[in-house]
Subunit: 406 residues, 4 copies
């Protein structure tokens, strides 16, 4: 073992699993540690401190181990300033650029720890005038000073909540075999609190919301003021409007659940009619569209981004068909969002999850446990997963928020 | 083509797919047909008739093709009496015994078509004194006259309903992406009709009913008189009783959905207490058990069969641990059942499905589409599959039956 | 019943289910039929003919019933020429435009039945100079003559194969519980036949191909000349190139299956490097990229379309980020494709399925039965669904094509 | 906080998560802790020690917290001897009996820590002559001295492996999206080691093994000596024998994967024939059965238990139809088993998992991720989950064991 470094950890490093994870990583990667100092908080509100020497076989291994420890929240003793190189051309980082996680991140700049703004997964970090900002590769400009390597980087992983609210008690998803009644009530309570302090709630939804007849429940949440941002695709919007124009959703009658023969025509006709008037807002203003999810979005001033996909029919004129542009708009709309509810969506939910900082609380609801597991697994301690029917979830949530729930 | 036979079909053989299926089978098996006579009903209430000559390469192929056609409802022209051989010993059929399907079946005995009683999948048929009865292999006795081969056998597949009720409009399962509200209402209506004419309803349930907090909804269905037979395993009963004794289900608190530390003790303690008093009825009579699914079963005189399985904890003393005996009791309890609702159960639901004649209407509800597909696929045209959360299904069904539904 | 029309059907209308489906639809929709004439083919190679009078309660219901019958292949007796109206503006059809299915379609123009070119789901039909062409709504121009209503429209649904090849014997998906060995051999045989007559094969793949270590198997199929068109997203291409640059796939080491700490950096660094050189072709030409799926595509002249999505990291410069443009390129690349293999992809597979005519044979392979069911259910009789592990599927397929299979 | 107790922890209590879990449990349950003493091992091979005072609001809460801490491996300072009460009648424990987990457990008896023999989930513990033994509730006899409460109980949770072998590197299941090649090789290596030291391997299999054509692969594992115990149900054995008698599996031809018309007859005929000769061994000895999984079991002296279920057809005469008896036989057969491979089985795999001590390494293989997750989640650090096709898994495993793998 010829390479070594000293790292420090502080905070609730035992019960929030920081220290065990660091020790784990070191050993899993074939390096060893020596505990130089260890002061344990004797009560749960006291914080602990540890200083460890890491020994690795060579500098390359050491760098990898240090990187892993940093991701768990360790800081390197004797850290040097972050190093930057200029971006070679527009849309390209220097080769060894530091890739962000979604955890709160600081950089040592001129001997001062500076928080990285706009933190988001898989970006680079650009330093301008002593400030640091996460920048997606599509948006970097030639000559921007981009952080390279891991010197001067510190992460502060979000600690998981402690048994006080719905996001705290579960580290894993709620399986289809657990009672959801109380969880939905507590989520409603959280939504009320967010709105009471003027916080923003983002709702990400898939077309099954309309197919299952849950459109009116979602429209109600919007009308009650519990949605400030809506992310969806062409499908949700088109089926919602189809259900208002024709009473069907992809040709399935919402009243009886029976297919209407030639029903797919109605779907395309819906899209075509909205194209003809020029968009959803125009459809509302012309009086064509008088109810439903998109109607309530227009009425309540909800900021919506309909991001296209390669499987879209039509699409509606409101759909952003360029994916880089769609991500830019979603990123902008997420500013100030502190709760994100994802329902029956995989594509848009994953996209949203990638754009969110780890500290944002998210709720993932789907009838498919694999989807919930995938969405809930984004390194956040603030995720609540529910495996259930989206129609009954939204109905119950609406009842709880409207004060109708027993 | 050196082997041939003539078959006849009658009834709604075109629109109920009988004729196309027969033609399909003949061709898929490499034989050919020649249509000798064909009279089509000119209106939908008139029946059609077809007579076909089947040609095969040899007698063996012909027998297989004829067998396939018979399963679709064809009868062989010039049929001879059914042939029997004596069972060689108790519990063993003659080698070439005719294996039953779940479709209504008749035998030609002494030139008369006689209906097989107690029809059920995968049995043999025993003829006694001109009457025919389906008998499972465990129950045949040495010397019983058992039908062999396919001579003198005729099936009359149940025709699928025609758009009038909930079992009629869907040949496939309702996916998680379709609205269920109206379907549940129509199911409630069907249940009322069945009870109005004093019919019997069988409910097959799995432990997730209790885990999801739906126990009170099921208890209510029983108290309202909508369940005459309950099939379940040790799990449903033990968790139901645990939830009454301790407010938990396998150690998960039903109020909050949070695990109680050491909760699995409560489950075993529940089973042990019921063992100590001697059974569920004794637990009710002693006043220990005052609410819940099993309590209501005792109170309402529901005939229940708790069939054991190799993974059971305990089990409760009411559990039938011998599987041959459990099947006998289930078979007996199913007499006169004309509607069967299967919820969140796979093992007991498949077992029940195997015991039911094709004409019995069945409803399969599960959050897992694969389970619904497997259960719905039993050759019956009377099956309704719903992919949804069992808690919301039972809640809505209870509301509909109690007249509380909007 | 005050509205009526006469329809005709011919061909293998019984055993290919055309007549039963028509009768079914008429009755399900509340109308009635009267069989005016019926001539049945007496042998399986003779075709049958039926003429039915349909009676409905009013003209609106009649139109819906006729539309349904047309989708099953019925033609209206005394059909009149197709009617057109001009498109009001670019990108908008007339309100009552005829919406295409993916079935072969003809129009009566000037008393002649004319085949619609470029048939594809959910388009309109534009008539120019006696020729008819399916046009997506994004591509219609103001003034184009667009077919409205259903007059003069005739569909000829593709008949399902008859037991001779792998696409013929199964109408439903192969479940995880069936043997696949022989099916994969027959698929290999079909692929050889397609290539022998210079046909084109399209492969649609998802990133799991790389994650599971099946990248080399796919690269081999390409090198052997069995892929002419590749549709994928940013993920498959980026993970493939990452696996060549770093031996990992999204940071998971492909040799050991163990996560590499900080592995997500490698993924972003891969994308950034390809952005730096200007694209995949440049990466190959510069010698950076020497193996793998994308390398073989460049080497073998495979036409590839990498269609973006809102969840993409990066993306690679080859990714088409505008969805309307991506669909145009995919549509163009599909010309002449007569076999399409979809593996471990949902988004791109659905998109491709929507662009394919019903007559194109498709193979859908996924470990998730729900995905296979969704993809296989596109009204085609030429679909083979396989629920299996994509790595073992591609390995076996490669062995069969290279003649190594036992 | 008026109730308190002192607990101690020692070993790798930080990196094996023992201490964090204890702290977590205390706080989640609303109690608090005070760290009295803490000595941290400064190198990874040194053990750590902690002594904590737990404070709770009352004795009842304290007891629950202590119980939770004990399950994580804490021992109570100043522990008193375990307390027993006599079982009131056969098959019934005293009400407050201590319920076992599957972790290694000791009892303080006469001031000495004594290991509990035959540890298994959900049993009671009977003390006879200073020795302690886990006893299922069905087997306890009136008057047996049964441990009650938690005094004098200590658990020593199995620590998870450390990166050296296939069971060590993954705490969670291998998803369908990860490479399995290397994992299967390492499993083969583990199997060789187990057999080299004369260890016993148990294989638990479901009928899909036969349906997918993997029967010969399993038969080969048995012939090669890599299976000492086989647990299955009626299905696997009956389909295996059917495939030898008729070349089908539940009527599906294994060569072509096509259904044989009337195929379900073949299944019942198979069962009937084995009933006629008296059992599987008799079928082998008579020369009727000459190949396959059950044939190899007889030939290699594999101890097999075929446990019945309520959905069985037949069953075969070898099937144990009483569930209490089946569990007794499985329990006996598991003696000395140190590796258990579960493939495509849910019912028998869960049953087996419940009978195994936590220290036994288990491998769970299924194409359904939900099944793998359920089986892998049994509190063991020695579980390897693989989501893949069982046919390709068993083929590759056989190739690796026979030394054919590249």
């Amino acid at each position: 073992m010829s390479a070594r470094a000293v790292i420090e950890l502080s905070g609730h490093i035992i019960d929030s699993m920081v220290l065990p994870r660091v020790m784990d990583s070191v050993m899993d990667m074939g390096a060893t540690f020596h505990v130089e100092e260890f002061r344990v908080g004797t009560r749960l509100d006291e914080s602990s401190f540890a200083r460890l020497t890491i020994e690795a076989e060579n500098e390359e291994q050491l760098a990898a181990v240090i990187a892993a420890c940093q991701e768990h929240g360790a800081s390197v003793v004797g850290a040097e300033d972050a190093v930057t190189l200029p971006a070679p051309t527009d849309g390209v980082f220097p080769d060894l650029f530091y890739t962000t996680t979604n955890q709160p991140t600081s950089l040592l700049i001129g001997g001062q720890w500076v928080t990285v703004d706009g933190i988001e997964m898989d970006c680079g970090v650009v330093i301008v005038g002593g400030a640091a900002r996460a920048v997606p590769v599509t948006d970097v400009l030639a000559g921007d000073q981009v952080v390279v390597g891991r010197a001067g980087v510190r992460l502060m992983p979000v600690e998981r909540g402690r048994g006080k609210e719905v996001f705290g008690f579960t580290t894993s998803s709620l399986s289809p075999e657990k009672p959801k009644h109380q969880v939905i009530r507590e989520l409603a309570e959280t939504m009320r609190e967010v709105r009471a302090r003027n916080g923003r709630i983002c709702f990400v939804g898939g077309p099954a919301i309309i197919h299952t007849g849950a459109g009116p429940h979602l429209a109600r949440l919007i009308a009650l003021g519990y949605v400030q941002v809506l992310f969806a695709g062409n499908g949700l919007a088109a089926y919602d409007i189809e259900s208002q124009f024709f009473g069907t959703s992809l040709g399935i009658g919402l009243e009886k659940g029976m297919p209407i023969e030639s029903g797919h025509e109605l779907h395309m006709r819906t899209v075509n009619r909205v194209r003809a008037v020029g968009g959803i807002r125009a459809a509302v203003e012309s009086g064509m569209l008088r109810r439903g999810v998109m109607f309530e979005c227009i009425g309540s001033g909800v900021e919506y981004v309909l991001a296209g996909s390669v499987r879209d029919d039509g699409p509606l004129p409101d759909v952003v068909t360029d994916m880089v542009e769609a991500r830019r708009r979603m990123r902008a709309a997420l500013t100030g969002v502190d709760l994100c509810i994802m329902c029956a969506s995989m594509l848009h939910a994953i996209a949203t999850g990638n754009l969110l900082p780890a500290a944002t609380r998210t709720v993932c609801v789907d009838i498919n446990p694999a989807v919930v597991a995938k969405l809930a697994d984004r390194g956040s301690a603030q995720t609540l997963g529910l495996v259930t029917d989206v129609e009954s979830f939204l109905r119950e949530l609406g009842e709880a928020l409207a004060g109708e729930m027993g």
